[in-house]
Symmetry: C2
Subunit: 334 residues, 2 copies
């Protein structure tokens, strides 16, 4: 481990991805990345009694499939870093507890997959774990109930609103493999005072701009050095703001940039307004789509920059702003 | 870093505590450890508009005091691991965001301080951070509102219930110092099917027994090898169960054991029923009381075993059990 800058890390013995898997619901199956998901569920209850249990089941499935692809069992994992959007992270608890792997719950809102993956890589490189997993999830129905309105209410969505993905992604990290975790950056909390919970993209864009600019500066690289820079999940509104904020610092990443929230759905056809969001969105895009393209040699060197909006309905109701955070993970396919 | 067992770690270059601080409310000030707290607030609103903002303020104060004791500023921290009990960990977000330190939100319910401290130590030993901080908080009033009943309702508490501490603790980890983090163990989620949210001690005791027994086995040590084994927060009910569960495995730790939930308050005088709880309870007992005793030479070698109940009001209402987790941190004063 080499400390490149504040919160900016480069692995000297880069850990590798041994396995990865993404699962999704019906809408995700029907989207442009449907074929990249390892398993999808037409019945988004997954046969469970509650949406929260259905979300836990998504994590359980993602872990099982990632382990299978790695040729490992749960007993081969020394640590699991798991997170989600639900109060007290219950879909992580109930999703992974059956595997009986030492458990570290993570919370970074929709940035959690990047956070969990960085920490899993740190655990493996340091020798704390032989293998470690990172898994995150979200579910449209559990998120609507908790953050917004009962589904039955049929509330109208604003054009800037994003659609919480019903999805989960899991990555298993070890020492040898083709796709490597080279380093990354832990983001600071950035708060420009955005208060509109129907416009998370705007709340998170400043954090994405801050973390990406710092990472490029600390590592002395520019956007053109990467095959892709993928944020998650800024959606259409946040992406436009990201370009604007970075342009002010002389950074132009349009040519290599895409956003997980814009990749997962066809915005015109699928009525998701500004795009996808949720801890499961960037996790599924990373573990289903991006890592697959890296394995196939289509992408050699990418930055995965997951973004989170660190708010709760309570902080909203109390008039607080929506601070954002963005963590960066640098991945290469050797 | 040496991997001793599954989730069980020994630091080869043990990180050290550079600074630590504990803050509390009125009841905590009046308790047996009142004199060990660095700052207490007779007005538990801390002058803020909401209980949630008051809790955030507790974290902010704890970080400031721990940094001051370490002779450092926020810019000297490369990472901060922060957590709390509130939905989406908002007291961590709003408590520490002003410091502008790269942020990793942690969730392990009342075990979060042990989790955050282990990860901060891992970050420092690996070279990812020059200095890192761990901070957690809880507030009686924000917890009651969220997990139980409005304060104004004046609900009766059952004898097995615990009192959520209004407190926070922060530890700053670096490379040189007298009190060292020697190692620890990341706990598995243990679920024996307890469903009574007014008896968290019973829900967490099986996890504490599992983690302590595994740590002793993996390290080949016995309770007598330590000056103290401190759980947090099992309270009176959970402590009795812990003794019973460990006795079944031939482990007897009564002589060296105490529980943070039993240390923070005088149960008879302070009407806290089975004892204290909350992310801030074990954090304040560790950072106010235990580390002070280590600095003064009264304790040389301890295990800090914070326990968490991984439930939410939603999982409760849906009839789910209350799984527990317990993380162990081994500390020595050299």
């Amino acid at each position: 481990m080499r400390r490149v800058g504040r919160g900016c890390l480069a692995f000297e013995r880069p850990p590798a991805l041994l396995g990865r898997a993404a699962v999704g619901g019906k809408r995700e199956a029907q989207g442009p990345l449907g074929a990249d998901l390892d398993k999808t569920f037409g019945d988004t209850s997954l046969g469970m009694d509650t949406w929260e249990q259905a979300e836990a089941q998504l994590q359980k499935e993602a872990v099982a499939l990632a382990l299978a692809r790695a040729g490992l069992g749960p007993e081969d994992l020394d640590l699991i870093f798991a997170g989600d959007l639900l109060n007290q992270c219950i879909s992580s608890t109930f999703g992974v507890m059956g595997y009986q792997v030492p458990f570290l719950g993570q919370y970074g809102a929709c940035s959690t997959m990047a956070q969990a993956l960085l920490l899993a890589a740190l655990a493996v490189e340091s020798g704390a774990a032989r293998q470690a997993a990172a898994v995150t999830s979200s579910h449209f129905c559990s998120a609507e109930r908790q953050f917004r309105l009962p589904l039955e209410y049929g509330g109208q969505r604003s054009p800037t609103a994003q659609w919480t993905a019903t999805a989960a992604g899991c990555a298993v990290v070890g020492l040898s493999g083709r796709v490597k975790v080279r380093g990354g950056l832990v983001g600071k909390i950035v708060d420009l005072g955005v208060k509109d919970p129907a416009n998370m993209g705007a709340a998170m864009a400043p954090a994405a701009a801050d973390s990406i600019a710092r990472y490029l500066r600390d590592t002395g690289t520019s956007p053109g050095d990467y095959d892709g820079i993928f944020t998650g999940d800024l959606g259409a509104v946040g992406t436009a703001l990201l370009y604007q904020l970075l342009a002010e610092e002389g950074v132009h990443l349009q040519r290599v940039h895409d956003d997980c929230g814009l990749l997962l759905y066809d915005r015109q056809r699928q009525d998701v307004h500004a795009g996808g969001s949720g801890c499961g969105c960037s996790a599924a895009v990373l573990c289903g789509h991006l890592l697959k393209r890296m394995e196939q040699g289509e992408l050699g060197d990418i930055l995965f920059c997951a973004t989170g909006a660190l708010m709760s309905p309570t902080s909203q109701q109390q008039g607080q702003s929506i601070p954002g955070v963005c963590h960066v993970v640098h991945l290469t396919a050797g």
